[in-house]
Amino acid sequence: MNLDTWLPLLVVASSLLPGLIIFFLREDSHRLRTVLNLAGAGLKLLLVGIMIWGVFHEHVYETRWTLAPGLDLVLHADTLSVLFVTLSTVLWLVTTIYAIGYLENSPHRSRFFGFFSLCVSATVGLALAGNMFTFVIFYELLTLATYPLVAHRGTPEAVRGARIYLAYTLGGGMLLLVGTVWLHVLAGPTAFVEGGTLSRLPAEYHQQLQAIFVLLIMGLGVKAALVPLHGWLPQAMVAPAPVSALLHAVAVVKAGAFGIVRVVYDVYGVNFADQLGLLTALGIAAGITIVYGSVRALLQDNLKKRLAWSTVSQVSYIALGTAILGPVGTVGGIVHLVHQGIMKITLFFAAGNYAETLGIHSVSEMNGVGRRMPATTLAFSVAALGMIGVPPIAGFVSKWYLGLGALEAGMATWVIPVLLTSSALNAAYFLPILYRAWFRDPGPAWPAEHIPAARLETSAALLWPPLVTATLALAAGLFAAAPYSPLEWAALIAQREYGL
Amino acid sequence: MNSTSLLVFDVLLLVSILSLAWASLATRDARNSVILFMAFGLVLAVAWSRLMAPDVALAEAAIGSGLSGALLLAAVYRSRGQQPAAQQQSTGEHNTSAATVAARWAVTLLSAAVAGVLAWALLHASGSAPHDTLPLAIAANLDASGVSNPVTAVLLNFRAYDTLLELAVLLTAVLGIFALGPAAAGYRPAGPVFAGLTRWLVPLLILAAGYLLWAGAHAPGGAFQAGATLAAAGVVLRLAGRQHIGLPAGGTLRVLIAAGAGVFLTVGLVLFMTGRPFLGYPTAWAGTLILLIESAAMLAIAATLVLAFVGGRPQAAGTPAHTAGAKPVPGNPGKE
């Protein structure tokens, strides 16, 4: 049983199998379900550890399975995929613990955790995809796995939000499919190769390649919430907190951004893409989204909606990073993929805690929450400051590299202003929350205090996850230069992409 | 009969066939339409014998016009009993709104086009010399087929599989009719003249069926024609007021209607399991096997066609059939 061919499959299966078993579990077998979940998460973490070590030492892991002539399902572990797999695995473990706490006595839990595991398997599969065909398969699977999670609560708004989410993502999926088929007809099965493969095609195809690029980016842009295609994201806020955390920090949104990174670097090749003038177009779209998202976030009173709009803008940093030609810009974009994930999940955990413990849903109700729930609010503050770009938290590192990259690539004239305005806007919609939470006196009573203030401010399973991810965000910033840190790994990716 | 007088005969025959067909389809009254259709069938039988196809002529007369006509007439009388005659006449021919006129023209043009294309292809197809590969092959293998009548040889030996499936079609039809509901009510007992006629006619039909079955091996005839004749006897009995036409009830009836396909399949499988090709009779036994299959098929076909005329699951003997529209039958338990 040589590990090289089976490891990627095992990584995907380690969450798929528990998920399928959980589906058929009896509703009241809580202990077995928790054991299965945590065992799956733990096993996946172990396997990913082995994979990180292997890929670092130029070891090739690949599972190949022919579905049809010319169409192979390929799971291939390279530097970029390992980064995203690690992010998903760590955050899935944390979110599972959080979800177990969050859904303490609510119905349909077998169904929830079943689809929850399917969703992570799809994300990990998408990360490990070795060619565009496999990527499209897992991209659509992700949509199917997340739809029931968004509609989990069953309220009319939940079903409506889920339907909008579905319309956007399946429509995007169709565009991506047509683009991929067209690419497949032109250039044969397009595997992800560092440095891209399409530059070898003859010149008369360039026009078609541009059209294909537009199709692919629109298909991926739906999930990466680029401006015209972002409508579903605020609507999907009706989902329970762990789902919004998982969707917005790890699974769906990142899948889109990751797809854009793959298409630009490993399909077209960044130089060929620039030669076709695609990068500037992408950069403009990202820039608009960054500013527009931040502006809309300002106007939202509902906490989760504000965080959702903040995600719309933050994810486009990654697209911006890919649009900046040059290794430093790439490092900035890719490392933000991890940093944004860690910070945003902390914010959503905190928002979930506020809602679950004190029934707080909007910013105006957050006066003096810091005194009642100091730990959660501390985590919230660390993440919020990180999002603004305050050193030494992770957000600062990625924004720094993005700025540096823009300077180096001579695109500073418009990238730096975008970064600055967006940081200012971030501050504009995060700092008032912090001020309100720490320096305002709390109102007479909390809207709906479900969990009384005992030794811990809220149940353990709800409290620890945000604290863990907050320390991760801090560590990613402080120990950015340490080996195996997200920054070092992003540098390794950039180094291999540019063939330095 | 030199060729010109033959031609005149053909033209007359075809003109009468076409006019009968046209009349049958054009009349508004259902009863006339059925009667004209039966006449069309009979004249058609004359045409088949003119074209040297006696087997088909027999079948056309017995099944094509005889039994189909009986089924159609029974349907007409049954539905006439329920709906007033006027409503029964509202056929598409008569409301002259623009849409139906246009539709009628479109359909006429479409049918004319189909006829034209068919004729054009036929002209082209019969242009070359007629292809005789198959007739010669049949003639060559005739003596190995166990019968001397080539049509029966093709039906029961060379293309036996077709006939097996065709018996399955008959079985499906009768099972479908059974699944739809109980049988329709019977008819009033026959008056003296009709009763006298049946006393003569039924034994004659049974005798003729037996002869046709036997003759099928070497002359026009065979299981289908014999079965149809036997069915005609059954229909006459049914019309004479006998409720259950001597048909067994329950289990034995099931055996009877399954006999045709059953015997055929068993013979085929037995041969298949003893190493011969499926439905490949050994030449020595071919004649007897074909006769065995044909007699079972005759019984099944007769039972099926009569049950189709009865129109539903036969009631257990003795219980009066509940009236479904037709005139009620004074409960006379079948005397036969």
């Binding site: - | 099972l175 059953g262 499926f278």
Partner: protein
Amino acid sequence: MTDAIIWVVALPLAGALAALLLPRLATAVAVGTAVATSVSAAALLRGVATQGVLHYELGGWSAGLGIALRADGLSAMLLMMTALVVLAASIYTSAYITAPAERARFWPLWLLLWTALNALLLSGDLFNLYVTLELLGLSAVALAAFGGKRAAVAAALRYLLVGLLGSMMFLAGVSLIYAGYGTLDMAQLAHMVTAGPTAWTALALMTAGLLLKTALFPLHFWLPPAHASAPAPVSAVLSALVVKAAFYLVLRLWLHVFADVVTPAAANLLGALGAAAVLWGSWQALQAERLKLLAAYSTVAQLGYLFMFFPLLQALPSVTARDVAAGGLVMLALTHGFAKAGLFLAIGIIQQRSGHDSIQQLDGTAQRLPATTFSIALAGVALIGLPPSGAFLGKWQLLAGAVATGQWVWVVVTAIGSLLAMAYIFRVIGHAFGHQSYPNLPVTVAREEWPALLLAAVAVLGLGLAGAPVWQLLEIRV
């Protein structure tokens, strides 16, 4: 292995007769026959895979004189699909129809339908195809009218008349072929047929007859009422198999027998009708009030996709490209067979539990039957053509073929069709999320829910992930 070619037809016929003669044991006989026939179908598939095309001359007479049965890759795969679908539906029916009198009347017709399907898929003789088409039509009508509800009988009657008209036109075509070429065996015809008035007219007539039976748009009006009012297992078999058998004949005639007679214009016409069927069927499915009508219109649409392959197969330059596209076509047909059968069986469970199948009032029942709703969702995924279903591979080849031959209209139609399919499938699944009480165990009615779930699972996971052999099997041709 070649014996299997006879058992596959003889067993269901023998089973039908046995079920007729032993009414009380009908269910046991039927399920037993179903298992036995499935085993022989599997043996046939393995035989074809190992020894290539299986050829059997019935009665020992040579193909021209007698009738030849032929099993190549395409027919063996469809036979296997038919066997699995009918086996699952038979197990389902053993719990769905419980009254002994009804059972005794149901099973013989059911097995006769199966005999017709298997005989049609194996027959190599044109007139024999006419007889199998009639047997198929009559048994399908008898089953569609089973239960005798007014709507079912009226729809079955129209289905019968349309079927008869179709068969008559098919027979006219067969007569022309015999007049022109003197033989009825398809293999011989394939070598003799040359482009000319006889061949064109015969093909046109036969195709017109078969299009009536496949219910391709504008000739589809009879299908929705017939499939929607029939009992659940019957509509499953009607939609998944009966309509597809007639399509198989069109495929056999156009690709193998009349290959060089077919003109691009004719293929494009079929493709255009297919495209219209996709759009019309999907749109009607979206408007459907009842689940069964939705499923029936979805059949009309899915058959449209299959017909859209014809212009591609005509225009694709290289043989390999054509084989890959033909593989996509077969994959789409197989997946639709399994998925649609699973969908109809699941709808049958809902209809039995709640007494109606209207989509608006679906909330309560959908949540109390989680396994059934999951089967509908899985079948829906396969009908839309989302990964990991076999239909995804099929649609991929359809799109690839269209792009390669520059016929962009099929790409646009497929995209719109898929989006409409997403709309009408997820309109139904949306009802599965609510606050109704949730049973402890997902599977409530085992003998009915497992067949539906397994059929849908085969369509999604089975054909989706293990679909590669379809292409290898398709290489084995007459």
